[in-house]
Subunit: 305 residues, 5 copies
Amino acid sequence: MATPRVKEILSWYAGENPGVLANLARIMNTGKLAGTGRFVILPVDQGFEHGPGRSFSVNPPAYDPRYHFQFAIDAGCSAYAAPLGFLEAGARDFAGEIPLILKLNNRDSLSEEKDPAQAVTGSVEDALRLGCVGIGYTVYPGSAHRLEMYEELRALAAEAKEAGLVVVVWSYPRGGSLSKEGETALDVCAYAAHIAAQLGAHVVKVKLPTAFLEQKAAKEAYEKTGVALATLAERVRHVVEATFAGRRIVIFSGGAKSTDQSVLEEAKAIREGGGFGSIIGRNSFQRPRPAALKLLGQIMDIYAT
Amino acid sequence: MATPRVKEILSWYAGENPGVLANLARIMNTGKLAGTGRFVILPVDQGFEHGPGRSFSVNPPAYDPRYHFQFAIDAGCSAYAAPLGFLEAGARDFAGEIPLILKLNNRDSLSEEKDPAQAVTGSVEDALRLGCVGIGYTVYPGSAHRLEMYEELRALAAEAKEAGLVVVVWSYPRGGSLSKEGETALDVCAYAAHIAAQLGAHVVKVKLPTAFLEQKAAKEAYEKTGVALATLAERVRHVVEATFAGRRIVIFSGGAKSTDQSVLEEAKAIREGGGFGSIIGRNSFQRPRPAALKLLGQIMDIYAT
Amino acid sequence: MATPRVKEILSWYAGENPGVLANLARIMNTGKLAGTGRFVILPVDQGFEHGPGRSFSVNPPAYDPRYHFQFAIDAGCSAYAAPLGFLEAGARDFAGEIPLILKLNNRDSLSEEKDPAQAVTGSVEDALRLGCVGIGYTVYPGSAHRLEMYEELRALAAEAKEAGLVVVVWSYPRGGSLSKEGETALDVCAYAAHIAAQLGAHVVKVKLPTAFLEQKAAKEAYEKTGVALATLAERVRHVVEATFAGRRIVIFSGGAKSTDQSVLEEAKAIREGGGFGSIIGRNSFQRPRPAALKLLGQIMDIYAT
Amino acid sequence: MATPRVKEILSWYAGENPGVLANLARIMNTGKLAGTGRFVILPVDQGFEHGPGRSFSVNPPAYDPRYHFQFAIDAGCSAYAAPLGFLEAGARDFAGEIPLILKLNNRDSLSEEKDPAQAVTGSVEDALRLGCVGIGYTVYPGSAHRLEMYEELRALAAEAKEAGLVVVVWSYPRGGSLSKEGETALDVCAYAAHIAAQLGAHVVKVKLPTAFLEQKAAKEAYEKTGVALATLAERVRHVVEATFAGRRIVIFSGGAKSTDQSVLEEAKAIREGGGFGSIIGRNSFQRPRPAALKLLGQIMDIYAT
Amino acid sequence: MATPRVKEILSWYAGENPGVLANLARIMNTGKLAGTGRFVILPVDQGFEHGPGRSFSVNPPAYDPRYHFQFAIDAGCSAYAAPLGFLEAGARDFAGEIPLILKLNNRDSLSEEKDPAQAVTGSVEDALRLGCVGIGYTVYPGSAHRLEMYEELRALAAEAKEAGLVVVVWSYPRGGSLSKEGETALDVCAYAAHIAAQLGAHVVKVKLPTAFLEQKAAKEAYEKTGVALATLAERVRHVVEATFAGRRIVIFSGGAKSTDQSVLEEAKAIREGGGFGSIIGRNSFQRPRPAALKLLGQIMDIYAT
């Protein structure tokens, strides 16, 4: 049943109990990428994070929470991640049809702080009650609130792991300590992924890194040791290497809505760089359903090979 | 017994236990709007929020907590919502006669902060002890304290749901991040309703939105996708759509005391826009009882059709 | 709103919190006897207590748990009482349509002990989760296990009352200390009802008493003071008087399936003797549905006058 | 995706949270019977219950705990159920490959009591830690210890359901109150299945019933109402009807090792009688692996049609 | 580093956390048998079990708890197991010098019951506080108290494993259900070892089995399937196979004091039969120290090859 690649990936998590492995295997054995060890996850927290009109008015059926469950199933995604309300609104109707990840913290963008934080909006009990395979949590390395976020994550992750749940961490550098360009700088992105892994994440989600280097000391080291960073694939490779030499699953965020071609080229670079896949929200639900299904199909074709 | 519309509305809450559904059904099977899936709720927290003299001196019988129980019953309201003290003062005398909602947090207006918060003034145990069908909670998206409020709501809502209680959230954008006009802007209002639903609210209460758009990114999206917002009915429709495509109960606040005509026209717009009803405080208890009963009767006539 | 009689009955429970009163009022405001202060409750625990074939083969649709919810609604019963499994199987579909009482303890009849006991098969949390208005519990005065049962009831009743739930006690004298005839003896029956009330029951369910007197000391007292016991109505009157001078709701069990006429005559005697109503299981579901609906209608007609 | 039949079966469990439904769906979407709503479950607790030599010496590879995981996977079973030790010995290696059910209580046969009980040998935490979809528990209706067993089951089931786990109950009449023949009597078997369902079991496992009737009152009722019991299919049909009119999953135990032909005829009768499938232990692992795989394949062919 | 054999043995415990594996590895990397995957453990609970005079007067230095620590170290044992008092009396002085196993239950022989039990005399907290690598626990399959013992072991083992401690179970058939000869019968011994493994034991300690077969059903199965049992080595092989096909560590008790030659021949048979080693109490401390050291050296020489 489990492919050699799935078995190999599971072997990296030998510190966890069999329940965590079973749920990680469920994600890896679902959808069009089943068995490949690659992932395309649908996340829909933009209603909370960016506001509903800004997120869904371009494709109004996406206002309906059931739309995303059905889309994730039909597109052959590996899992579907969302906040409490969206999952509660469909978990019974779609019970057992797609692995669910309950996003345990969220923030809205009605306020903009220099040093952002998030609110805990769900619990491990909620995740079990709703039949989820894992929890999701965002940290903001670079924010003045990062240490509290790390501590909160640690507590929630410990509880989740005892219950056999997978821990997915969105690691998004942000805050007063970083320049805007620095938020996606290669050194910062690699650092953020590493922190998430050190905090016990099973799956790490980061943004695609640019060739910019933010931190002086890092810049010197990178230049001295000749870290390859000219192409996106090289930068992906560096981030993956920085995350326990590739022994943790690192997936990349598609970011804002973009053209099909640029999304597909990113997927190719992720694949070439040894990334494990994509987490694609806006580029899924901000397209009409047929176009979105087609795009995700093409992305999966890239990852499947 | 339950009408098809009531059954349909209950089906949206399939993530909840049967106890929550039973209490939601109790609200929907009460009063003049029983069976219609529409709501007129009487809230009386203005004594706490605005001060007693400012609230009740215009209609002195309303100083008496029993006045509001009896009014809600006689007017055929769906439920009556109030803080701890007001409910404790009448729950025994009116036991079983009107569904009660215990408002679990409150603030006074003796202090005015740029970024308001509220105090938790009751508990789920209180709600059960007083025979309530649900709890109420206010969040202030836009306030610097919003994240703590979201977390507090999450914890209270989880406890309430386990006990089968309905969760009603007053989602009132307010705080230093918003312009005064922005507090009732369409994008902000829709966003506030969406946040409440994501936090697990069963019933969301927001203010009626204006055609103003507060956030730059939202404004661009609304204009690009052509969100209709010229009429109040269109704006209500957008807010309802933004709240899980209408699969969560959204009711609208009547706001400050106004003329009968304007209140009735608002009700017509709410109905036309697919809103689920009104929560009417000041326009109830700041009128003489006969006039208030008449007005609520007229509002219910609008919703009943 | 509440009738004077309902208000009067509620006044007897002034020691309880408003939540208990609200739920008691819900029962009294439901069905064909709404407002009369009289009760016809449908209990269906015979599948557990006597076995499914023996209980339901005579009317096979009654194997289906939904049958009983619908029957209680259609017959206009005051409430429906059943064990955990039967309530779980319909509580969502019939949410809010009929007051539910979760029977918290049960025994089967595959073993017959001289001194019977019951197993706790549900919890107050279950009752809240399923949207019940109350809990049910059986005690066996006369059994060697009665003291443990009283203590268990006390603990569950205390928990239920804190949550605003009504406590219904089945008080069935049984066990090695009693003769078979004594189980329904007038003195024993009155004693059993009194014990339940002393243990804090809001509603007491006993069997109809015979004119037999079991206990020597009681017999002497009854004869000396001339307790009237010749007719069933007189005996009902005595049991009701023994239960806090009629200030606790006492209802009577219909017992094994019987002819329509005898059931109706019992109802008349209960009414004449000041009893509050009947709890009718086998005489409901062991008749074909139309005959059962007709019989319950006739019983309610008796009580309604 | 879920077939209409799977959706229909899930709809019977509307009292449970979505997590329970998701795990039930996982069982129903696994193996050769995926989507049919029929089950073949492999249970291996005979090492504990009957002793290892007596259980496995006839097929020595079966001493190895991994043998049974692999067998269940290769045979296309719906799930694999075993005590703590056996699951701990393979849960990591086979993580996510077959739904696991942790049998939470067990007894050995080194002592034989007239009124047997079992020891709790695992916990809900163990089930989560090992990645199980459900728990298993045995009750012995007819034993003097049955009431304690019902209470223990209730507590474990409540905990399991909160965590989204499926509850499977082995209901085996046994004990001093029953004749040996009575343990598999039709009335007793139907009663045992009904008790398990009332205690909240999602899946009920009973032995195949004979045409014998044990209890006098049941015998009279069966004869009077003409319960059909001549053929095994008729008796299966009665047991299924007795278990909430077929709205709970009832599966039947294969019992001691038997000939292929008799096992296949039993499967045909179970299918014809509306049973949901088989739980086959000794007839699996006491045959050489190829013969066992062939037999289970034939059984599944019967159920799949 | 860990030898391949140690790695292989650790791989059998993949259901446990790394802490358990680390402590198990500590035992396997200690003493003269380090790295071989074989064990000689010194247990000294005879003072409690049989009385001090009966146990130690033959070698008075053994009255001193420190004697046994030093002996286990000097003899090159894998670990030292004793009750609370004995460990408390030496744990500081010998901190870190020898793996310690706290025997968590004990009984004395001042009373003799047909159906023996034990008292819990220590805790997991004690084991951690004293620096132990594991806990020990005795079960008596065959005793009327066995089910309580299994439950107690389950609870203690779960707690111990969470803390990363190894669980060693003494499985000694005894009690009214067994003949005296049956206590060491091959079928019973194999059954006892299997039960301990199912209850989650990491290391199982049983007595050496005779060729007697106690249980009728087992005898029939053994004879039919031709279980080899003529020699002690064959019988050891059967017990090891019965314990998860040799994937659990099974060690054998030396029993009462015996001649050197018979002890050595037993060790040879254990080794030949695939047993993992010996737990030798009386044959250690009831000999003068030099003789005991010599004997243990010889035993270890046998196991080391």
